[in-house]
Symmetry: C2
Subunit: 205 residues, 2 copies
Amino acid sequence: MSAQSAEQLLHLETLSETERKILLGALHCFIQQGYFNTRIPDIVAASGVSTGSIYHHFKDKQHLAEALITQLINGLDQAMAKLISQHETPMEQIHALIEWMLTLTDAEPELVSFILYARHREFLPHQPPLCTQQPFEKMRSLVVRARENGDLPPLDEMVLTAAVFGPTLRIMQAAVDGVLPRPAHTYSAALFATIERLSTASAEV
Amino acid sequence: MSAQSAEQLLHLETLSETERKILLGALHCFIQQGYFNTRIPDIVAASGVSTGSIYHHFKDKQHLAEALITQLINGLDQAMAKLISQHETPMEQIHALIEWMLTLTDAEPELVSFILYARHREFLPHQPPLCTQQPFEKMRSLVVRARENGDLPPLDEMVLTAAVFGPTLRIMQAAVDGVLPRPAHTYSAALFATIERLSTASAEV
DNA sequence: GTCTATATAGCGATAGAC
DNA sequence: GTCTATCGCTATATAGAC
């Protein structure tokens, strides 16, 4: 069951008890079966809240999903902000972020799968793509600051972000697809080694 | 309209004219609206084939999608095999593959989006994840051969594959999400520079 | 605010003529 | 093999009691 640390990512304090139960139940269903395979009665069963109550709090299934995604992105953003604040240099922050991403993948593979594969626009056409939102913005700004520090080479910002976080995201995807022989977090050192190599490469070529 | 080069990727020669029309129509719908948002009448309109005929050739909507994905993966695999056969060394093959992936992204963003975001297991629970299949297998074997050649450092196979192809896949994703300032293929040199850096890094650390 | 019971619309799939 | 017409079901959403 993914609700334990998912619950920590959805900062639900401002919501009523019923709304929290509905959102957590829906998240559980969406993670396991996807949005389209989830029927309202599934959410009723998972949340312990009746159909009528669900529709009292949320206009329809789509608006419920919208509220959930918003909360999830905000939660991710806050978790990342807290993590970043605990470290000094951009490279240390990148390192910590990568370790956290890998650890989260081991702890909550289905949640991570939901976020990674999240073709949210298929069911939420008005949602901007995930990579334009705060969490990915944070990655980009970390990379840019590391580049300014001289810790990363003076390459294009998009390419550099892709080179720093792309490999980790691929490993996470392999993990949730079940094709990774060891737990995801055991790859953190090797992944960080590839980033080190970006910066220490001999300046020729 | 994505059917032009999509058609080249779906090697449809062995199929009847009707089956080709159905698969192309369905692909067009799935690419644009996703599997769940596509109704049978949509496929009827897109293919010009009647409901009855569709159900004569395919057991149901799910089996139609299955046939389509199979054709698509086979087509990708064959296109990649041809491309690889035209080059000598593993590194040249990797280079050519990356250029091809980026060019395809510019030419067929919606098709690439469909493949990349492909949470196909949501509608095809029995389909193995894309990254276990031939196209990704090919990437892995190229990387392993380049490593044996000494062109890539002796890092873990999964990490190395992620480091070589992960950044390109991230750029492709950014492109199809519309957050890339320039066409995807213009990033190929910078992306290949990051791979060069993997191998030429000073051996210390 | 929460619940149960139900309406209704729209979808996948089929029947059967040609 | 292809088509039109239609069935039956199921899922969303609502009505209305408490």
